[in-house]
Structure formats: C-alpha cells, structure tokens
Symmetry: C2
C-alpha cells in the first residue's frame, strides 16, 4: 500500500469517526487531519496552520486549534508527551515511542522490533485505571551530533 493510499484510508477512518460522533465532515477537518497524518515531523499547531494555509488560505488559527482538539477527542490524533512549550501532534496510532532531540526538538518515531514488547511497570495499576503508556527517549539526534563535530 502506498503512503497515498494509506493516507486515504486514514481519512476514511476519520470520516467514519466524525459520523459516529455526530460531527460534520468538513474540508478543514480533513485538511488539518491530513497535515498531521502525512507528516512524520510531529508538527505543532502553528506548523499545521502554515501548511494548511497553502491549500486553504482562509483557514483561521482558531479553527486549527479547535480542530486539533476535536481530532484528539475522536482519538484520531494525540499529543506527544514533551517538555517543550508547544504541543506536538501525532496521527500514527500504532503503539510506539519517541526519540526527542534536546537540541533541535525534532521528534522521531521508535517502533519496537517484533520480539519486543512495551513493559508496563508491575505496580502501575495500583495507582488507578491505566489508559495508555508513553515512552520518550531524550537525547541528541544523529543530525545534531554530525553538525556539532564539524
């Protein structure tokens, strides 16, 4: 399946999710979702706004923030846990972790190998009902390492 087809499939999922929750399928919603879904950059709200503006010059900042929030409620996207001032979004729902570069703030996806499995700490469930688990690895990415040795 090409990335184009994969994206279309995700858009279809979004449409269904909207209908299921009595939300209208609007071009803005589609575009904003596609922007997050097609990027591996884990964009922030501003980046999404800038990108969507190319296709829809009239889109408003407000719509982007509102839409990102509703896509999150639909569980079509989620926020990446980070220590940065801006929220970063991810539309890849497969369980995975993130490598966050402390220098350039780039966020990379880390997928586990087939024989690996995310380990939930034994006594985690003693604190309450678990919804999800997030793992971030912080460090300096290869790109930044390369630049600093120049």
């Amino acid at each position: 399946m090409t990335s184009e087809q994969l994206l279309n499939k995700k858009v279809e999922e979004l449409k269904e999710a909207c209908k299921k929750h009595g939300m209208r399928v609007t071009p803005q919603r589609i575009e904003i979702f596609k922007e997050v879904a097609k990027s591996c950059k884990h964009p922030d709200a501003e980046a999404v706004y800038e990108a969507v503006k190319h296709k829809m010059p009239n889109v408003s900042v407000d719509t982007v923030y509102r839409t990102l929030a509703s896509l999150e409620e639909l569980n079509m996207i989620f926020r990446v846990d980070n220590q940065l001032p801006k929220a970063r979004f991810d539309a890849d729902l497969r369980p995975h972790s993130h490598f966050i570069c402390v220098q350039c703030n780039e966020v990379y996806d880390i997928f586990l190998e087939s024989d690996e499995k995310i380990q939930i700490p034994k006594n985690a469930s003693s604190f309450g009902e678990i919804k999800d688990i997030n793992i971030q690895i912080r460090g300096i990415c290869n790109k930044c390492l390369k630049n600093s040795t120049k």
Copy 2:
C-alpha cells in the same frame, strides 16, 4: 535517616553542585530547591512560587522560573514529561516512572520492583545519543475513580 536529614543531605549536594559550576549559593536557590525536593506532588512553577513566598515574601515569579531552570541545568531537578500546559518538577533522581491522572492531573511516582528493569527499545540508539528515558502511564487515579462512582 529521617526525611529532614535526607532533605539536608540533598541541600548539601546542591551547594556542592553550585560551587562546582561557579554558581552562587543563594537563599532563594536553597528554598526553591527544598520546595521541590520535599514535595511528592511534582509541583509546577506556580505552586513552588506560592510555597516559597511564605518564607520569602519578596521572591519574584521570575526568580522561581529562572532558578528552576538552573537547578535543571545542574541536574538537581528535572521536568516530568506531560501534556499539560504547566511544567511539573521532580527532585527525585532515582530512576522511576510516573502515573499521571488525566482527570486531576496528579502525578504519582512509580518505582520498579527489584526484579524489574526499564527496557530501552532496541533501535532507540540508532536515532542518536541517548540522554535519558521517560515513561509515563496515563490513566485515572484511584482517588478520581472513587469520586466518580459516588
């Protein structure tokens, strides 16, 4: 060792770290650090400010933010990865994870049992140089679960 003694020990560590890095030991630094170190609440900057104000009524918001940042540089405290608008701080340097309640935003420490070990995803190091790893479990804490069934 009492918690009082433990706190004093940590303060001594801070003083040494300051000297080592050519940073002055100021009452504000001590107080702000103690406030984070003695709490298990993972306070945000505002909470630290409010608490410190009781002892030092003239302390400024700015000093709290600046000091928290420099304590972080000294590796005496760190930020808890979260999706909340406010940064939360932790002075417990022992490796541990966090349970974050999505309802009340409380942050609980999760320590691994002696036979457990944090698993770093195999291909994490392929992205760059790893500095640290963070695990958050998101869910609804026992307190909130109890309140919602009432």
